[in-house]
């Protein structure tokens, strides 16, 4: 009975995706190959095709933005998992059911929290003008330095990644039978060794999934580097917006978009394969 679904049911979703996703993405790809006349708004309708927009991205300045995006994103997603794991474990195994629901509510609220609220709150608190800004300056940290701004952007990403990873890992840890760990301890392993050789490998899937979510979130982050980066730390997303809003070079913005799109897809593809492989084992 499963076969006779009227394919008309695919129509509303299919049309929406065609008009708002497939065609725009195809148009983006075509635009990225158009010749751009400096000073004009976007490409001309009959502009010739060229690879110049991509060639421009091979220069060192773009590589710098790319590396900065990847570096800060990697830092945030790895640190996020390290900080979220003990938290998830504590919630899963140490809290009573009432406290566990409360902790769950706390982290879900933090995950749902508007990205604007987070960035504004972090800027207000740890930014150069905030109450912690002056304390940090007193102990010799330059709050307008590039290094500090990078840390601040990573903190912005972490403010989302920690709750998200905690919730992801919570599900994984809850599905690991605690008796396995006890068995290892009965057989003479200290607790840390039991966790390292029993709990951790069984949680690999959740760890990889958290990393996947955290890394793709960070790579495509827009508001966090825009507000906390103060123009000194820019992610690729911000570069695309600048190409559109400041110089109206649409073909170049489109080429950067295609690169960012390809990067995001590559990360999702590789990590999803890793996650699936860890299920099979």
């Amino acid at each position: 009975m499963k076969q006779n679904t009227p394919s008309a049911l695919y129509l509303p979703g299919g049309l929406l995706f065609l008009g708002l996703f497939v065609l725009p993405m195809a148009g983006l790809f075509i635009e990225s190959l158009r010749f751009y006349e400096p000073g004009s708004i976007g490409s001309a309708a009959d502009a010739p095709f060229t690879l110049d927009n991509y060639a421009e991205l091979l220069k060192a300045s773009f590589a710098g933005f790319l590396w900065q995006t990847v570096k800060v994103s990697l830092l945030a997603s790895v640190v996020g998992i390290i900080l979220a794991f003990p938290m998830a474990y504590w919630i899963a195994r140490r809290l009573s059911p009432q406290w566990r629901s409360l902790a769950l509510g706390f982290f879900v609220t933090l995950m749902f929290l508007s990205v604007l609220v987070r960035t504004y709150a972090l800027e207000l608190t740890f930014g150069a003008t905030g109450p912690f800004g002056s304390i940090l300056r007193e102990i010799g940290i330059a709050t307008n330095g590039r290094g500090y701004i990078q840390v601040l952007v990573a903190a912005g990403l972490l403010h989302y990644i920690i709750p998200m990873s905690t919730l992801t890992l919570l599900g994984t840890i809850q599905s690991v039978d605690p008796r396995l760990n006890e068995a290892a301890q009965v057989l003479g392993a200290p607790n840390w060794k039991a966790h390292l050789s029993v709990t951790m490998p069984l949680c690999m899937r959740g760890v990889l999934a958290s990393f996947l979510f955290g890394f793709t979130f960070s790579i495509s982050a827009f508001v966090i580097p825009m507000i906390l980066g103060k123009g000194r730390v820019l992610f690729i997303s911000n570069l695309i917006y600048t190409r559109f809003s400041e110089i109206a070079n649409y073909p170049s913005g489109a080429a950067i978009s295609v690169v960012l799109f390809a990067l995001a897809m590559l990360i999702v593809y590789v990590l999803t394969r890793l996650v699936n492989r860890s299920i099979q084992q």
Binding site: T5, S7, L9, Y120, I162, D177
Partner: protein, 273 residues
């Protein structure tokens, strides 16, 4: 050092990390809450000498913010309704069909979740301009539909795939037609999933910046866009008040999610504790 000593050390370390994490997550929110009640007209050191509601009044009497809020609410309600309808038909079709490449089709319908929103916004900007669509609200609506519809599809599909086929079969054997079986069996059983998809989609629409910033114009803008542009202009504390209002609405959404669906269910839960 023996294994048990390492255990104690690690246990202490984990406890320390947990406390540090909660402090890191909560401090900015507490600081913003205090600042939003600050009675001074400038950004001074904490704690403020006296508290007042002036920034909340300033936020709620600012026509720039209020018009953004109205646009945001209209956009969210419209885009979530359209997304839920499209999500319902698509998820039902996907749930009922078996063919090679179905997994690829599911991934396709979920793919806007992993495409960077700025890229979606930029692609839509180019496409809608080429199509001659210049109405600001219509452009924003297009953007909000495509970023919310995957959430509706995902949640509805997850809920529908949990329903045993035998329930629908039983309804059909008892004489219901496909439509009756859908409305009396599938839809009620999937309702919790649809609701959680709608709540996720609503939150995404209300919070979006990256797509909206590409499609907005001088007259039609959402609340996040209004907040961002005044955030960049001057660090005015009515944004702190706005943040508290937004946070309050997040809490209300979560309570709704808990009451209507249950957080454990909405977020997924493992077997052992």
């Amino acid at each position: 050092m023996s294994g048990r000593n390492i255990d104690d050390l690690l246990r202490f370390l984990c406890k320390f990390i947990n406390i540090a994490v909660v402090v890191f997550l909560m401090t900015p929110i507490v600081v913003t809450a205090i600042m939003s009640l600050d009675s001074r007209s400038y950004l001074g050191p904490l704690p403020p000498p006296s508290l007042s509601l002036r920034w909340f009044k300033a936020f709620f009497s600012d026509s720039y913010f209020l018009s953004g809020l109205a646009t945001s609410l209209k956009l969210a309600v419209l885009s979530v309704s359209i997304s839920l309808l499209a999500g319902l038909t698509t998820a039902y079709a996907l749930d009922r069909s078996r063919f090679r490449g179905k997994d690829a089709l599911v991934s396709f319908f979920l793919s806007p979740l992993v495409v960077p929103p700025v890229v979606i916004g930029f692609a839509l900007l180019l496409f809608l301009s080429k199509m001659g669509l210049i109405n600001g609200f219509a452009r924003l609506l297009c953007g909000h539909i495509i970023i919310t519809v995957p959430y509706a599809i995902r949640a509805t599909l997850a809920a529908m795939s949990e329903i045993e086929d035998t329930y629908t079969e039983a309804a059909l054997i008892l004489g219901a037609n496909e439509r009756q079986a859908f409305w009396s069996v599938t839809f009620p059983l999937a309702r919790a999933g649809i609701v959680s998809g709608g709540i996720f989609a609503f939150a995404v629409s209300m919070d979006d910046v990256a797509v909206s910033i590409m499609l907005t114009d001088a007259k039609t803008y959402t609340l996040p866009i209004a907040l961002i542009s005044s955030m960049r202009a001057n660090f005015d504390l009515s944004i702190a008040a706005a943040s508290m209002v937004l946070m309050g609405s997040t809490v209300i959404l979560i309570i709704l999610l808990e009451k209507l669906v249950g957080l454990n269910r909405a977020m997924g839960q493992g077997g052992f504790r």
